[in-house]
Amino acid sequence: MTLKLPEICTVDSVTPLWKQRMPEVGKLKAGEVLILDADSVKRYDGSAEALIIEVHRCAAAQGFSVEYRDAASVIAKTLKIFNPAVFSDHTAYDLPPRNTHTVVQVGEAAVRIWRDIVDVLAFLGEVVTSGLSFLVRPGRLRLRDTMLCIERAGMDALPIVALIGFLIGLILAFLSGSSMRQFGVEVYVADLISIGLFREMGALITAIILAGRTGSAFAAELGTMKVNEEIDALTTLSLPPVLFLALPRVLAAAFVLPFLSIFAVFMGLFGGFVVLWMMDIPAITYWQHVFNAITVNNVLIGLTKALTFGLLVGLSGCSHGLHAKRSADAVGQAATASVVGSLVLITIFDGIFSVLLFILDI
């Protein structure tokens, strides 16, 4: 067969050649002859060069021979610049096919979550070690950074925590109120809200807010610092990034969450109050029930959870940020992974708490 290259042999004219004629070239067998006719070519570009190389590559692979018509020495020039043998590895860059079977994906996700947990725990180790070195030389903790993180993670989160806490109280009250009303005991909604918020919901919702607002910000900040080689700069100044960057953030997160959680609890109680007030329960009665239901144990349990969750969110954010790869894309992934990691860890630890408290019967 003959493959004739047109006079103006640029992308626009090469594209149809490539689409229609190259499949035919791909079917040529050993012993056959392809006439590559470049006699009339006046102008050509990289796509024409690529076509010439592709023909040679196919010839080498399939064993047919190529005859030139090369009056303008276009082919000779191209072969002088490019050696077809260099481009023989046809499929070298194909990515491994992604296995998208659901079972496999679930398995992969489980492995990822497990690795995440192990990573965060390992990172906890690093933070504790650097925390100990901080006990030896307290001056090395960046107090200003810690205060700044506390302000951003704590003070700045108050409006959103207030709103969500209030709404959660409202929802809890509506949900339980409507069924309890059937038995005429809607006043016990107050007890339920009080216990539920103090023991469980307060810490849980604020931890989720913290993961979304602050954990992701930690990961993005540290990830960007890594891209800019700022982390390398710290290391060479013998300021361990874990001590210098992670410790202030982790401490700040663990410090603010109990406060945020108590704040959310009171907003939730207020939300419940609004609902019960609409159900004609007197304010005095509501608050009496609420405060009777509060026990030292419940408050302590809530605070312990909050402290733990805060620690987990801080650790997850910083660990993903410091372990991010060095690209813009990787920073985004680190932020996502830190939030997912935080949520998984929070759920797992909440489960552990429930089991422990059940066994200890508190």
Partner: protein, 251 residues
């Protein structure tokens, strides 16, 4: 006049009405290496970015292969945009793509070629700059000099007749920088590409520069134009002579 690839006439460049450069006129001829010189902050990148239509011109006209970059409608602007390649001062390779994918991107965007053709073209461009073995590396995993070369390969993906390079040798050692110079000369000879290069490297300027213009922050315009060797020896301006001959400054 038919061998002019870029023509800049009475250009005023700046940002939000703040004039950085004025009265800029010059022409780049086919197959020549045209150098833009000047101290840091005098507006070299500004000139380049205005020439390629990233910022609106405050006044004047830029033609690339005869197509106006501004003032001639969408089709003319697109024709102009397709006829040059550019590399940026900071490299600007996409970090989440391999070098090969980086070079493939303009082909995907501007042509209708089948994917194996696009990949082969991209591989060939990488081969031209000596990076074929690193095709599936990510930009973060290769050296500074390799990043500059990969950026040139990406700029060449659509076979432009003009390449504009913003400080290609910044941050490179003299040996790598000389290699880059040889690459530029080779591409000029094999592919007939014209170059507009912003650089400070005296060695580069004398090695590859056919003509140059020198910008000046005080007067905000071109203070010298011509062949680098001639400017060094015969420029009436003290400033220009000392730029080209720093040894004389010390002596």
């Amino acid at each position: 006049m038919n061998d002019t690839v870029i023509e800049v006439k009475d250009l005023v460049a700046g940002y939000e009405g703040r004039v950085i450069l004025k009265d800029i006129s010059f022409a780049v001829r086919k197959g020549e290496t045209f150098i833009v010189l000047g101290g840091s902050g005098c507006g070299k990148s500004t000139l380049l970015k205005h020439m390629i239509g990233l910022h609106p011109l405050l006044a004047g006209e830029v033609r690339i292969l005869g197509h106006r970059i501004q003032g001639g409608g969408v089709a003319e602007r697109e024709a102009a945009m397709r006829s040059f390649g550019v590399t940026y001062q900071s490299g600007a390779l996409f970090g989440n793509m391999t070098l090969l994918e980086n070079v493939c991107l303009p082909l995907e965007s501007f042509t209708d070629l089948p994917s194996d053709a696009r990949r082969l073209i991209a591989e060939m461009k990488l081969e031209l700059v000596g990076l074929k073995p690193f095709a599936n590396y990510f930009p973060t995993d290769v050296s500074g000099g390799m990043k500059k070369r990969a950026a040139i390969a990406r700029a060449m993906a659509l076979d432009p007749q003009v390449l504009l390079l913003d400080e290609p040798s910044a941050g490179l050692d003299p040996v790598t920088s000389a290699e880059l110079d040889r690459l530029i000369l080779r591409l000029r000879d094999t592919h007939g590409i014209s170059f507009v290069i912003v650089t400070h490297e005296l060695a580069s300027i004398f090695a590859i520069g056919d003509r140059c213009i020198m910008l000046d922050a005080e007067t905000r315009t071109i203070i010298a134009e011509g062949n680098p060797t001639e400017l060094r020896d015969t420029s009436p301006l003290e400033k220009v002579r000392t730029f080209f001959n720093p040894a004389a400054r010390q002596g």
